[in-house]
């Protein structure tokens, strides 16, 4: 994964990681109390590489991680704090295009969209109809 090249004075810790942690804590409280999801757009924040590293280290790694291969990779992983997810969208050449902290039960990008379910429902019927019962029996006996 590639990061922005940084000018010399864009390195070092600025305290931004601590500020983001406070924001995450406030959102997490709302998620726990009212079920209100939120997200923090990391790209819009003037964070240095060290700030990000610090934030990643403090948030840690949770139980779930997923990779979506769609118009470039998307990495989704739950941090050590349940309900706090790190979502990283990349384009080609592993260039980070968008990065967010999602405070939610499950990030939207992981959910199957209703229109896709509808499409899949129709497609599976077509597969069943075109394959016929014999094909399935043959598959079962081979298996």
């Amino acid at each position: 994964m590639k990061r922005d090249a940084q000018a010399p004075c864009m390195t070092g810790q600025t305290g931004m990681a601590h500020a983001v942690m406070n924001e995450i804590a406030a959102h997490l409280e709302k998620l726990a109390g009212r079920g209100e999801a939120a997200s923090i757009d990391l790209r819009s924040l003037p964070m240095t590489d060290m700030d990000r590293e610090q934030l990643e280290m403090v948030l840690g790694q949770g139980e779930v991680s997923a990779v979506i291969e769609l118009a470039g990779l998307t990495e989704v992983r739950e941090t050590a704090f349940s309900g706090v997810w790190w979502v990283r969208h990349m384009g080609q050449d592993e260039q980070v295009a968008y990065e967010e902290i999602a405070i939610t039960r499950i990030p939207e990008i992981l959910k199957t969209q209703l229109d896709d379910i509808d499409m899949a429902s129709r497609r599976i019927q077509q597969v069943i109809e075109s394959s016929g019962r014999n094909e399935f029996e043959k598959e079962a006996s081979n298996g």
């Binding site: 118009a71 969209q113 896709d116």
Partner: protein, 352 residues
């Protein structure tokens, strides 16, 4: 690709799920500083939209704007914009030429009457009946008037189309004018810059496709999502400005240490654009990060503001009025200029 299908149906037929809209929408919402909840609305809007017919006209320009949009930040993601639009006419990118090209423009106008978007880069010469730039035997003025007559909206990309740009610079030998001086009966969105940031172009088009409406604009017709703050507002060198630490030349200790470039002519304090946050060349850098002051290319008449290497406070046309007599004297300058900028911003918002 069948244009009667929605974008969702088109991508489904290629085995691509609607997650791609959500991914693109998250990216677009971030670009446009929209709340995260907006990404779901953008994704739904895009999935239901049909391919948008776009006619791209190039007049007095250098093709830098096209170079910019074809080098967008994250190709596999940004290239989706070319799935979302039907680029029916574009001098540089179309394969046909001559009569066939003009026929394609007319066919797109006819088939999408009242619903197509016209993107224009370049200014239009009007002196001597516009003879200084012609295409297919038509003056730029004739082609613009004909093509926009039945358009839904017009997007002026680049400072030449938005404000006249370099052709408009003194002495303006061709009588160049910006598009907004000619097209007055429909929405005109200005996305200035020399060239504009590619994401500002694709983000604006995506917003239009998703919501079917023009995004919020400032008093110069620019989307506030990209032009709502000055370069200076979001510049990583700003702390040096506030502390009065300035480079005095491009090779002194201050320059080497990355101090503020205000005294060597940076126009960041009076230039509204997103270079400091979106950056250029796949997010690698922007002029100030590379050690050069901002030229102010997304502001009107940037070429005639007295000199790229003169500090704003020494007097550079309009900028002098904007910043007033703020002396280059450390922290006091920061406070004065910041207050005046806030005043200007407030005034601009009231006017807008």
């Amino acid at each position: 690709m069948a244009d009667h299908q929605t974008l969702g149906e088109v991508l489904s037929s290629r085995g691509i799920s609607r997650r791609v809209f959500l991914k693109y929408a998250s990216y677009t919402a971030s670009l446009m500083a929209l709340p995260p909840a907006a990404s779901t609305a953008i994704a739904q809007g895009l999935a239901k939209a049909r391919r948008q017919s776009v006619i791209w006209l190039s007049f007095q320009e250098c093709t830098g704007c096209t170079e910019s949009i074809t080098r967008a930040h994250s190709p596999s993601l940004e290239d989706l914009i070319f799935d979302f639009i039907s680029l029916d006419y574009h001098h540089t990118l179309q394969s046909v030429s001559g009569h066939a090209a003009e026929q394609a423009r007319k066919a797109a106008m006819e088939e999408n009457a009242g619903n197509y978007i016209v993107v224009v880069d370049g200014s239009v010469p009007v002196k001597d009946n516009g003879i200084y730039s012609t295409i297919a035997g038509m003056t730029n003025l004739q082609m613009l008037e004909e093509t926009t007559s039945n358009a839904l909206a017009v997007i002026s990309v680049g400072s030449c189309a938005a404000f006249g740009g370099i052709p408009y610079a003194n002495p303006n030998p061709t009588g160049a004018v910006p598009i907004s001086e000619i097209v007055t009966d429909k929405p005109v969105i200005n996305i200035p810059g020399c060239p504009p940031i590619p994401e500002a172009m694709t983000g604006t088009i995506s917003y239009f496709l998703s919501f079917g409406a023009v995004p919020e604009l400032d008093h110069l017709g620019r989307p506030t999502a990209f032009f709502g703050e000055t370069i200076h507002d979001r510049c990583y060198r700003r702390p040096f400005y506030e502390r009065g630490m300035f480079a005095k030349s491009f090779d002194d200790q201050g320059a080497r240490k990355g101090w503020c470039l205000y005294e060597v002519g940076c126009k960041g304090p009076v230039t509204y654009n997103a270079c400091a946050t979106l950056k250029w060349n796949a997010g690698v850098s922007f002029p100030i990060q590379s050690g050069h002051g901002c030229l102010g290319c997304s502001e009107p008449e940037f070429w005639d503001r007295g000199g790229f290497y003169k500090p704003i406070s020494t007097g550079i046309g309009d900028a002098t009025r904007l910043i007033g007599g703020a002396a280059v004297a450390g922290a006091a300058v920061g406070a004065t200029s910041a207050a005046m900028m806030r005043h200007r911003k407030k005034k601009a918002m009231q006017e807008g």
